[in-house]
């Protein structure tokens, strides 16, 4: 576990590019241009590369395609249709007379013509990888980055020794709201909350990070000296905005009737947010799991208080590792 973690998160690991071509001239050109920035693994046929791809998930696949090579095209399309391996960007090298088909039949990210290889290959390879990193794993509802990115963001900060605070937010009484009004209305609230957290946190500190774990769980990472004021702003603004997401009569009553987890009919107040905050300013952590656990603990503690509020972990720890 530990070993795998370091390989996943080591910041300066050379990215891997798999090159598939029979053309030795092409191989040597690509090798010459990319070998300084990437570690290159060459195969002559795509069939031979699959075992490697399945086991190591490279950062880019550069593949020499000719139009009549239905086998290669079929394998690329299968690979790109898989949710895990589909994230590996594919850069095709096309001969100058290759007629580009409809993109629905060839699942690649980008291409470069054979006669432009020398001028374009570095830029195209870099761009493919950057683009894939950018679109990786966003929550479809809020368009905020999801768990993999969240973990990477935390782990990177831990490894570089950056001092930061991590806040873990979720809603109180979201489930009864969802049950009463339907998940479409619940989604409206989540989209609003994502936008609210994002704007408040980024406005306070542009180089901060906001992620959506899923459901009504959100995370943000920022400087420990700004986190309290940002959090208070989120709470205040949420409390002001949330009533408009209820029907007028419920809004006037200040509560809704819905069913609890045991299926019993009860009255529930208007939603609030509970936020737990942990920081490595006073405690030392080496693994993202430790720091998110603290934040999550603090969030539970905030929940006991009732109403929108936050709690910060003020205890000092030494990392278990």
């Amino acid at each position: 576990m530990n070993r795998q973690r370091t390989s996943l998160f080591r910041a300066n690991r050379l990215k891997t590019v798999v090159v598939v071509t029979r053309d030795v001239v092409l191989t040597s050109i690509i090798d010459r241009f990319l070998k300084d920035s990437y570690s290159i693994v060459v195969f002559t046929k795509i069939e031979h590369s699959l075992d490697y791809i399945y086991n190591s998930l490279p950062d880019l696949l550069i593949i020499d395609i000719s139009l009549d090579d239905v086998v290669t095209i079929g394998i690329i399309n299968d690979l790109k249709s898989d949710p895990i391996f589909g994230q590996v960007p594919v850069l095709a090298v096309l001969s100058d007379d290759f007629i580009i088909p409809k993109w629905d039949y060839l699942f690649i990210e980008d291409y470069v013509r054979r006669s432009y290889i020398e001028t374009d290959i570095i830029a195209k390879a870099d761009l493919c990888i950057k683009r894939a990193e950018r679109v990786i794993e966003i929550n479809p509802l809020t368009r905020l980055p999801g768990n993999i990115t969240i973990i990477k963001q935390i782990q990177r900060r831990l490894e570089t020794g950056e001092i930061f605070a991590i806040a873990y937010a979720d809603l109180d009484y979201f489930k009864p709201f969802n049950d009463k009004y339907g998940f479409g209305r619940g989604d409206e609230v989540l989209k609003m909350l994502g936008r609210l957290i994002l704007n408040t946190v980024k406005h306070k500190q542009p180089n901060s990070f906001v992620g959506h774990i899923g459901g009504d769980d959100f995370i943000y990472i920022m400087g420990p000296d700004l986190v309290e004021s940002a959090t208070q702003e989120i709470l205040d603004n949420f409390d002001r905005i949330i009533p408009t997401f209820y029907d007028a009569e419920d809004r006037a009553k200040g509560n809704i009737e819905s069913i609890d987890r045991e299926g019993i009919k009860k009255t529930f107040p208007i939603m609030g947010i509970s936020i737990g905050i942990a920081t490595n300013k006073i405690a030392s952590y080496s693994h993202y799991g430790e720091v998110t656990e603290r934040a999550s603990e603090m969030k539970k503690y905030a929940k006991y208080t009732g109403g929108s509020c936050f709690r910060i972990d003020k205890r000092q720890y030494a990392s278990k590792n």
Binding site: E188, K191, M192, R195, N199, H203, N237, I241, P243, T244
Partner: protein, 278 residues
């Protein structure tokens, strides 16, 4: 022109222009790199057209909560400074500026501050929502005079010459009034239902079933500000207050006196604002 046709013409309006003086001030505000969301918010809230822009964007399906946001400050929190700045960069101005339009701006702004005073007196929970509704109550007039510029000039003249209320003159020409036109565009732009209802019924508060108090407040503010002679709504004389509005608000004579006194204080500041914008 039949009503369906008229409605589809009006729904084609995508954005409204504002006053040249507002644009001048606006550029100063957004070019200031240190401007706060609050300052921008106060500025936007003083202009009906900038307010419609913000509400249109935040209530568009792109953000995922259409028809929910009816206050400028909430809209700004959810849009963020960059989006708001970018949006304001695209604001245009009326090509031909009519004197009546300047008067309408003053009327709208005066109505907004008056409605807020009444809302506070009545202890309404979100007074900002009411002042936004009051600011936008006559947005139909802006739409009609933008879309049918010459015809609307005739309507204004007709009202003046023949002693008609502006809505009577509108009705005679279009068979609808600015209240319907405003409600149509507000609906098209996914504004919250309550806001649409106030715009639609600000002359007929008794028809406002869901938010009778809010509609009555805007109705009363609309008339008080005309009685005060602040701005120009298009009416050459003051319309009566609908009995249903008195009933819904239940204001005592003391309440009314206090409202009028507070109005004077706030309007003085507003006048300063309008003069300084010239």
């Amino acid at each position: 022109m039949d009503i369906q046709n008229l409605r589809s013409q009006i729904e084609k309006v995508d954005t409204l222009p504002t006053m040249p003086s507002v644009l001048k001030k606006l550029l100063k505000v957004i070019e200031n790199p240190k401007v706060s969301l609050n300052e921008i918010g106060n500025f936007i809230s003083s202009d009906p057209v900038l307010t419609t822009r913000v509400l249109k964007v935040v209530n568009s399906p792109i953000y995922g909560f259409p028809g929910r946001i009816s206050s400028v400050s909430q809209a700004l929190i959810l849009l963020g400074l960059n989006v708001v700045r970018g949006m304001l960069l695209g604001v245009s101005v009326f090509e031909v500026m009519e004197r009546a339009m300047v008067g309408l701006w003053e009327h709208s702004m005066g109505c907004a501050v008056t409605a807020r005073i009444i809302a506070q007196k009545k202890g309404v929970k979100e007074p900002e929502e009411i002042s936004v509704a009051a600011l936008l109550h006559d947005i139909g007039k802006v739409v009609l005079s933008l879309k049918f510029t010459d015809e609307y000039k005739d309507i204004l003249n007709n009202a003046e010459k023949n002693g008609l209320y502006i809505s009577e003159a509108e009705k005679a020409h279009f068979s609808i009034t600015h209240a319907e036109a405003g409600a149509w565009i507000a609906q098209k732009w996914n504004f919250p239902k309550s806001l649409i209802e106030v715009i639609e019924y600000h002359h007929k508060p008794h028809l406002s079933k869901n938010i009778p108090v809010q509609s009555a407040i805007v109705h009363l503010a609309d008339i008080l500000i005309q009685a005060r002679g602040f701005g120009f709504s298009g009416n050459n004389f003051v319309p009566p207050v609908h009995p249903a509005a008195w009933q819904a608000l239940n204001l005592s004579e003391t309440d009314m006196k206090e409202i009028l006194i507070e109005m004077e204080e706030v309007l003085e500041q507003a006048e300063d604002f309008l003069i300084s914008s010239e």
